[in-house]
């Protein structure tokens, strides 16, 4: 692996390139119901990442022979739009996108009661409008909110965050620059209320203690992300309640 040694990711004060402390998350914004035609939708901003997720279904499966007789077919499509990165990205799905679609699907599947909707399909479309490191985590945050917004039966929401490594220091929620020049990246997705991990990947070298520390760091951040997700889901209905001016 070629690495530019002159890139300094942590300065003397322990601050990172964008001024964050090692265990600080980028600002997160979650919105639901942004698309009218989708059954459920969500928009997520995680730092510079901008992601839209749309959920359709449960609906009829096309082509028909793909339908599963005992549960719903969960299909995810993760796509980075051509203008989402500095150089134009070809709109054709890359190997990376195909893999991320699979990874996101498998991170979401344990949270959904798929057996409640046999012979149907649940389609999740994720489009990255702007990418800056950690789009898979932003996508999982968006997709799980969109699924809940569509009224699909779920065990819990899924929230995700990446823990990175710069030198010997573990840092939370790495951005594009740190992803490129850092020493490790470990995206973690969890069901916060249930307390189970649905996705954990890693590149880089970690000691067992570091893995433990990373999971602890991520689960703290995931609790905060979860609160944002809850707020986004509830706000639409609370707004109607305020409009009517009726309090309980």
């Amino acid at each position: 692996m070629t690495k530019a040694k002159n890139v300094k990711l942590i300065d003397e004060n322990g601050r990172r390139t964008d001024g964050r402390l090692p265990d600080e998350m980028r600002p997160l914004r979650v919105e639901t119901g942004v698309l009218k035609n989708a059954d459920g939708s969500a928009y997520v901003e995680l730092g510079n990442n901008k992601v839209v997720a749309a959920v359709y279904g449960p609906r009829e499966v096309t082509p028909r022979h793909e339908a599963l007789s005992d549960r719903a077919l969960l299909r995810c499509r993760y796509a980075m739009l051509p203008f989402s990165v500095a150089d134009r990205k070809s709109p054709q799905p890359t190997r990376r996108e195909i893999e991320l679609s699979k990874v996101i699907r498998e991170a979401l599947a344990p949270a959904i009661f798929l057996n409640e909707y046999p012979r149907t399909a649940i389609d999740v479309f994720i489009n990255v409008l702007e990418a800056d490191g950690g789009t898979r985590t932003a996508s999982i945050i968006a997709a799980s909110v969109a699924l809940a917004d569509a009224g699909i039966a779920m065990r819990d929401l899924v929230a995700a965050i990446a823990v990175g490594k710069i030198g010997d220091i573990l840092v939370l929620d790495i951005n594009g620059l740190e992803d490129q020049y850092g020493d490790g990246d470990m995206p973690i997705a969890m069901m916060p209320k249930v307390g189970e991990i649905t996705l954990i990947q890693a590149d880089g070298v970690y000691s067992p203690q570091e893995v433990e520390q990373a999971v602890a760091m991520a689960s703290r951040a995931i609790k905060r992300i979860y609160e944002e997700q809850v707020k986004a889901l509830k706000s639409k209905y609370e707004a109607v309640r305020l409009e009517v001016g009726k309090d309980e």
Partner: protein, 232 residues
């Protein structure tokens, strides 16, 4: 008390509702050991008299239930049956035997003469068990083709509010506007009236009920809404 929620509280998937005890917890919940959790984004309704806690989803697709009355659209005319769209992931089948008890000679009597593509029908779900598509029937009285009216589509979860307690909301709208409502459990409602203006007000009222279904005092707001619209 072993309840973690208040009446009319909005819950999201994974929210704890309560523990098994004095109250029976129903609706869209799942159980882990003795604790109940919400499965959906929904509202909690607590009935303190009957000791029932119910989680009703705010959104979602219609899943057919035997005995439900649904408003369907004919999408395909087959040789011995019709395929009907009932606003659900599952398409319904309407066999000839559930339409008429008279023998139909297929070679001479085209099924399209009885019901054609695009026709709106009020039907009853006869059977549905997830392994096969639901079978519907229009053989009972009051069921059958809907010749005219304006169709409103709402979330199927809100139908209960449109009907109201023992049909109070439906009769409120029907009496105030002189229209007739054909309510399908699948979220389709047909407003039949002579006055197009009153029909429109009824449609708007239904939309208002859908938007504000999770807030108390709905009936009074709808009555006010219709009164103010009628004055205009």
């Amino acid at each position: 008390m072993t309840l973690y929620v208040k009446d009319r509280q909005i819950v999201i998937p994974g929210d704890p509702i309560g523990e098994q005890g004095k109250f029976s917890i129903e609706g869209h919940v799942y159980r882990v050991n003795k604790k109940f959790f919400s499965k959906v984004l929904g509202v909690v309704y607590i009935d303190p008299d009957r000791k029932i806690v119910r989680v009703i989803p705010l959104k979602g697709k219609y899943i057919p239930v035997e005995g439900h009355r649904v408003v369907g659209k004919v999408v395909e005319v087959g040789l011995t049956n019709w395929i009907v769209d009932i606003n659900s992931p599952y398409e319904a089948i309407l066999p000839v035997s559930e339409v008429t008890s008279k023998p139909v000679n297929i070679s001479r009597n085209e099924l399209a003469k009885i019901l054609d593509e695009g026709d709106l029908i009020l039907a009853k779900v006869v059977s549905f068990d997830y392994t096969k598509d639901p079978v519907i029937s229009i053989k009972e009285s009051k069921l059958g083709k809907i010749p005219k009216g304006s169709l409103v589509e709402i979330s199927p979860q809100k139908v209960a509010r449109i009907i109201g307690r023992k049909g109070s909301m439906v009769s409120l709208i029907e009496e105030m506007l002189g229209v007739r409502l054909i309510v399908g459990q699948n979220g389709r409602i047909v407003v039949v009236g002579d006055d197009p203006l009153k029909e429109e007000i009824a449609v708007l009222a239904i939309k208002k009920i859908e938007a504000e279904a999770h807030i108390t005092g709905l009936t009074d707001r709808i009555r006010e809404f219709i009164e103010s619209r009628l004055r205009e």
